[in-house]
Amino acid sequence: PITGKLTAPPYDPRFPNMNKTRMCWQNFVDYHRCVNKFGEEHKPCAWFQWVYKKICPNEWHERWQERVDDDAFAGRLK
């Protein structure tokens, strides 16, 4: 049986409407910016990763991750 509490990403007032595309993209970008700035071991960066992994379709964040690895991502990650 499932034990423990189920959590969902909390309400983000920057994205109040039904369209959460930008929320997904923003958390992905914020995770990479956080990691670039503070390093991968920095715990708070894991928050952004948790959010985008929860809400983004896998196709999207996997495809973006490939582009990040190829240095071809179309967002400012520095």
Binding site: I2, L6, A8, Y11, K20, K54, P57, N58
Partner: protein
């Protein structure tokens, strides 16, 4: 309407709170429509059936005021449940509950639930196809799917819906839910807790040849 509904149990078929109230509002509204219809029909019928002159009084200010005020009072009475429902449909805090990702394809759905580890593929995504053959007696012909969306009962559900090719629509009418799936867009639909059971829906946006053959099956369980 919303407050007294909580006391009674109008949630047959395991609907959620929102849909139960929506059904009650619809019934209430329909009764008002029947009253209005009956009244108008009786007036019209009386004009047809009974002989007499109706041209005695060609202007009556009181009558005109009355037949303006009474419908506006009826409409005022309808404001409260209507607006309440409008606001409770989105009244979720998003802090706890189950997050489900739904992606529409031509012509099947793929689901990703944080509670399911797929044994079929490497990722936690799994595809859900309509079952066309090997139906057992008692199955629903165009609704049975091989791998339904499995969900925890009694917790809020957040459906994040997108599409990989053309526009689809994720519909669960028992929950009052219809979330369009656009390629390149992520829409969210929320539902309060549902009770244990099976819920069905069908793709609600024309998406090609097999648009009618990509149903949504959802099972709500309390035990995994």
């Amino acid at each position: 309407i919303v407050s007294y509904l909580v006391l009674g149990n109008y949630f047959f078929n395991g609907l959620n709170f929102f849909m139960g109230n929506l059904i009650m509002f619809h019934d209430f509204l329909l009764i008002i429509c029947y009253f209005v219809l009956f009244f108008i029909l009786s007036l019209m019928l009386s004009m047809v059936v009974f002989s007499g002159s109706y041209f005695n009084n060609l202007g009556n200010v009181v009558l005109e005021v009355v037949w303006t005020v009474i419908p506006s009072l009826i409409l005022l009475g309808l404001v409260e449940p209507s607006l309440t429902l409008l606001y409770i449909s989105e009244a979720f805090s998003f802090n706890n509950g189950q997050v489900l990702k739904v992606v529409g394809h031509q012509w099947y759905w793929s689901y990703n639930s944080d509670l399911i580890n797929s044994v079929v593929q490497d990722s936690t995504d799994y595809d859900s196809y309509l079952i066309t053959s090997d139906l057992v007696s008692g199955d629903f012909r165009l609704l049975e799917v091989d791998l339904p969306l499995v969900v925890l009962a009694n917790v809020p559900l957040y459906f994040f819906v997108s599409s990989s090719d053309v526009i689809h629509s994720f519909a669960l009418p028992s929950l009052g839910l219809k979330v369009d799936a656009f390629p390149g867009r992520l829409n969210v639909g929320v539902s309060g807790g549902v009770s244990v059971g099976c819920y069905w829906g069908q793709c609600s946006e024309i998406c090609g040849a097999n648009h009618a053959f990509m149903p949504i099956g959802m099972e709500a369980l309390i035990y995994f």
